[in-house]
């Protein structure tokens, strides 16, 4: 009788320093797979290693024995047996439920985040390529990817940006559509602006310009973002060319006033202007927002929307957990039948995907 065994550590059980030490770098994977087979008695294994968790999923005929040896194995790979104390382990149905939770983003730091689904996929693919997977892990991981997608489409758990920076990008997209033709102006060299600038850069904006009171600082920041720097007296001209302005200076009062922006709008022929004021105290006069085609959001505006999104995601958790439970039980029926040596079939939900999921089917090529 084969069992599914999970041994791991996550942000819920261990601080980041411990997780760092347990993290399995990709080159080490083949050795670890081999050790799990030889020393751990695992016939199949998948290793999920992200910055928030390190988990080993293994199929083994002897759950009790394997658990201890895998614990030791994992710790010893990192050269510190004492780490074994913060590991958790689960078996069979509980392990499956846990994997489904993880894939759905229910076990993540930010509920519903979508990166984890890709990480689960890559972990499975790496194991598949290393020929460490077998029937059980193939079926479970493909099922987990399906459940992860299903939970995100059926519930609103992944909806809405959950950071001020990604929210600013989402708002810019509401105004300009595709950001590829957008020009971003960074006003001031504050740290907050950098995070936001990063999010905009990831959308491949057309141009990024930094304006700062001291030109050297602007140039330094511009180099890091592969943008351009402009002296402060060119601010008016740069505003006329920009679409999105990220403002984060250390100035004690307004650096952009209504009259100035009104003048700029005339120069830009009323092309919409999106101003993001992430400085405290505020650097852009709030009345600017009342100008036609000008949209000003300050850090509080962004934060309250972020809070709203997080609250909404949280309120969807129960629904998502119920869906995962349903899918876990469904899976368990298959699992039981399979362990008894019977043939069983798992299906995708109606309307989600027409393809049937047969346990006898070969795993998808990664």
């Amino acid at each position: 009788m084969r069992h599914l065994l999970l041994v791991g550590v996550s942000h819920k059980t261990a601080p980041v320093e411990w997780r760092e030490r347990l993290a399995v770098p990709e080159p080490k994977l083949p050795v670890l797979f081999q050790n799990l087979k030889d020393g751990g008695g695992a016939t199949e294994a998948v290793i999920l290693s992200t910055c928030n968790r390190v988990e080993i999923y293994a199929a083994t005929p002897d759950a009790m024995g394997s658990r201890e040896s895998i614990r030791k194995e994992l710790a010893s790979v990192q050269g510190d047996p004492s780490l074994a104390s913060c590991l958790y382990s689960q078996e069979d149905e509980d392990a499956v439920r846990h994997l489904f939770h993880v894939a759905s983003g229910l076990d993540s730091l930010v509920v519903g985040e979508s990166e984890i689904l890709g990480q689960v996929k890559r972990a499975y693919e790496a194991a598949f390529v290393a020929q460490a997977t077998g029937k059980l892990t193939n079926v479970i991981f493909q099922r987990a990817l399906y459940v992860g997608k299903l939970v995100r489409t059926r519930t609103r758990i992944s909806e809405g940006p959950t950071s001020a920076a990604s929210l600013a990008v989402a708002l810019a997209e509401r105004i300009f559509g595709n950001l590829k033709e957008c020009r971003v102006l960074i006003l001031g060299a504050g740290e907050m602006a950098e995070t936001a600038a990063d999010s905009f850069l990831s959308q491949k904006v057309a141009r990024l310009t930094v304006v700062n009171r001291t030109l050297e600082k602007a140039q330094e920041l511009a180099r890091r973002f592969q943008g351009e720097a402009a002296p402060y007296d060119r601010l008016q001209a740069e505003l006329a060319k920009a679409d999105v302005v990220l403002c984060s200076t250390g100035a004690p009062d307004y650096v952009l006033k209504r009259a100035e922006v009104a003048g700029v709008m005339h120069q830009r022929r009323e092309k919409p202007l999106f101003l993001i004021d992430i400085s405290v105290p505020r650097n852009i006069e709030p009345a600017v927002h009342h100008l036609e085609n000008v949209y000003l959001y300050n850090i509080d505006d962004l934060q309250s929307l972020v809070d709203e999104n997080r609250a909404r995601r949280q309120s969807e958790v129960d629904k998502a957990v119920a869906l995962v439970d349903e899918k876990t039980q469904e899976f368990h029926v298959w699992y039981d039948a399979w362990r008894r040596g019977e043939t069983a079939t798992l299906r995708h939900a109606k309307g989600e995907d027409a393809s049937t999921f047969s346990a006898d089917a070969a795993p998808e090529k990664p």
């Binding site: 997209e173 509401r174 105004i175 022929r269 919409p272 036609e292 085609n293 949209y295």
Partner: protein, 307 residues
């Protein structure tokens, strides 16, 4: 009214209704299967509608005076054409932009035009008493009889002037619907509390540019339509322009869209103010189209007072 035409038109009506329902279903569920079916069904519906117009021409040609009969000579027919062209322009907009959410903002006008076409008897005989459903159906269908053409309408200009005008009107109807979408999106973002709705609508810039593109194409068409009308007026009444109510209001419509283009291109207006101008333009279009029939002695073809 021939049987074939009757069936084709009824099917088209059912089609428009279902298309509208599908677009709303898409807006609420975001399922692409709905928007895809809506697009396909709309294509089919437009084809059926065109066929029904063809069938109507064939049926009308039986009357010997109807050499120049075209299926847009009275209230029912012109609203039917309006619905068809709004849908057709929207199909083009869809093919170019792939923004199915706009169906929610444009297709109601097409559907409403069809309903207006069928509701003529309520306007012509408001005091009619209807006893049964059969009576109701017969009452409605009385609008669909093939009309006897007024002498002024028995001209080949009928086949040229009217469709050109209606094409521009239909494009303006599309711009009107999209303008409403723009204003909703603008309000969402200005409010600093954008909801789910904001994420389902296209971006401000997309909407703004789309409205402009439609008007910039429709405006020359309107200009051409008015010029063709003047030419026809010369044939029919012996003068190009006579400040008949319809002529005057068509000119007002033309001026409003001219102002839109002027403000946008010369004065650099964008966004909300131009969106309001396009809304006002369409309101005048509707008045020129329907309201004026009750003012104009010459153009009262819809209300049966035209000469």
């Amino acid at each position: 009214m021939g049987m074939t035409e009757m069936v084709l038109f009824n099917l088209a009506f059912a089609g428009y209704t279902l298309v509208l329902a599908l677009y709303f279903a898409y807006a609420f569920t975001r399922r692409e299967s709905f928007s895809r079916s809506a697009y396909r069904l709309l294509t089919g519906t437009v084809a059926l509608h065109v066929l029904s117009l063809g069938a109507r021409v064939l049926a009308a040609r039986v009357i010997p005076e109807h050499t120049w009969y075209v299926p847009w000579s009275n209230w029912f027919e012109s609203f039917s054409l309006f619905a068809l062209l709004i849908a057709l322009v929207f199909l083009i907009v869809q093919a170019r932009t792939r923004l199915p959410i706009l169906g929610v903002f444009v297709m109601p006008w097409s559907w409403l035009a069809i309903v207006m076409a069928l509701s003529y008897p309520f306007f012509s005989t408001p005091n009619a008493s209807i006893a049964s459903f059969g009576g109701f159906w017969a009452f409605i269908n009385s609008a669909r009889e093939i009309p006897k053409l007024a002498p002024a309408l028995q001209s080949y200009w009928m086949a040229i002037h009217v469709p050109v005008m209606f094409f521009s009107y239909s494009a303006f109807a599309n711009a009107f619907g999209i303008g409403i979408a723009y204003l909703i999106q603008e309000r969402q973002i200005k409010s600093k509390k954008p909801t789910e709705l904001s994420y389902r609508l296209p971006s401000l810039e997309e909407l703004d540019r789309l409205i402009y593109r439609i008007i910039v194409i429709a405006f020359p068409v309107l200009t051409l339509g008015i010029m063709l009308g003047a030419r026809w007026a010369y044939d029919a009444w012996g003068r190009y322009w006579g400040w008949d109510a319809k002529e005057t209001w068509a000119l007002i419509t033309w001026f409003i869209y001219l102002i839109y283009l002027h403000m946008r291109l010369v004065m650099g207006w964008r966004g909300r103010r131009t969106a309001y101008l396009s809304l006002a333009g369409f309101a005048v279009v509707i008045f020129t189209y329907v309201g004026v029939n009750y003012l104009s002695e010459l153009h009262g073809f819809l209300s049966g007072t035209g000469r």
